[in-house]
Symmetry: C2
Subunit: 222 residues, 2 copies
């Protein structure tokens, strides 16, 4: 097998194992075995285990650039479509974490060990989401469209719903799932909750139509 291809193969298996068992919890022997090569091959392509980890970081951090939130919700923000802004953002995060569950696990391991990946993700992504969503909310407050509340609290609340839901799906997968719901539905529901609230008090209910909405809302359950 050609050098580049083998390298990528080892990298791929290493990602999976690191994401499942953490950096220190994974041995180079296991990686070699999973990749179907000898340990010596691993060290031929990556001088040290640390370098292997770094290569993963670089690869993931690089692909992380593509997940630029500005791009995706820019138009929604431009036309001040609150629903689209939040729903799009949520759906993007949920989809991404579903397609590449390893990344979230890797990130979590990294955060627990205070490794580079988590720090980079924090700086390059999280900070920006908080900044531009915060700005957007501030803008909408000036418009009188949103109540006076610290914008970052709103961001934290919404990101919390979405990421925590993702995390639950990734960590407690399959059997133990408490809440079965499609990403589309989840993104919509979380956006609904954030934007319109749950209670019906002090409100002329334009919400009742939601209950008869497009598809079964009662079906999804434990």
């Amino acid at each position: 097998m050609a050098g580049g291809e083998r390298r990528r193969q080892i990298l791929r298996l290493a990602v999976r194992l690191f994401s499942q068992r953490g950096f220190r919890g994974t041995t180079t022997k296991e990686i070699a075995l999973a990749a179907g090569v000898s340990e010596a091959m691993v060290f031929r392509h990556f001088a040290t285990k640390e370098e292997l980890y770094s290569a993963i970081i670089d690869h993931k951090a690089c692909s992380g650039d593509e997940r630029d939130p500005y791009q995706l919700v820019a138009e929604a923000i431009a036309r001040k479509d609150d629903r689209a802004v939040f729903e799009q953002l949520a759906l993007d995060a949920l989809t991404q974490n579903e397609c590449d569950p390893d990344f979230q696990r890797l990130l979590l391991h990294s955060a627990l060990e205070d490794h580079k990946l988590a720090q980079m993700f924090w700086e390059k992504f999280v900070r920006r989401v908080y900044a531009f969503l915060g700005d957007y909310i501030r803008q909408r407050q000036r418009d009188g469209a949103m109540i006076q509340i610290e914008p970052l609290v709103v961001v934290r609340a919404f990101v919390g719903m979405v990421i925590h839901h993702s995390l639950n799906n990734n960590l407690w997968d399959r059997k133990r799932r408490l809440l079965k719901i499609s990403n589309q539905d989840a993104a919509r529901e979380f956006t609904d909750i954030l934007l319109r609230g749950v209670t019906t008090t002090n409100r002329r209910n334009g919400l009742s139509k939601k209950a008869t909405g497009k598809n079964s809302r009662k079906k999804s359950s434990r």
Copy 2:
């Protein structure tokens, strides 16, 4: 030092180290050093490293019994005080995770490695919270006090806000903190968002008084 006391001391240090670096990331030598004893002492009290981990699990799982949510919010549920139910629950979780940050980290490590602690916590605690909060929401829906929405989605959303906020505080502590806010304020804000929503649309604003509430809401910021 007496046997029982030394044992507890080793256990305490082991908890801290395991929570910081994970099970495999922590060596018995480090634990011994941190506890100020020789490695042999560690193995005198705990036959294997695994047994040390199990002892931690048992200890933590046991203390987990005390965090029975029923007890704390029972009266609030009885008098159908939505605000108190959610705010109390949130404040309890935030306080607990702040006082004992090791537990959340330990739990996360455990969840990533699919270890016993996470499974037990899931069965003994998470499941129950979802069940009884879900029941409560269903009840309030029958009362006409809450909109028709899958109750478990609401639980997931609220738990998400609270736990994600805790997690952020624990993992990204100190310098990198994006959102500085007291637990009391956070519990109140999250409850506000969940129960009353963020937008002012279709609503006679009984919310404006909130803006001038007890203490500075604008002060808390990045």
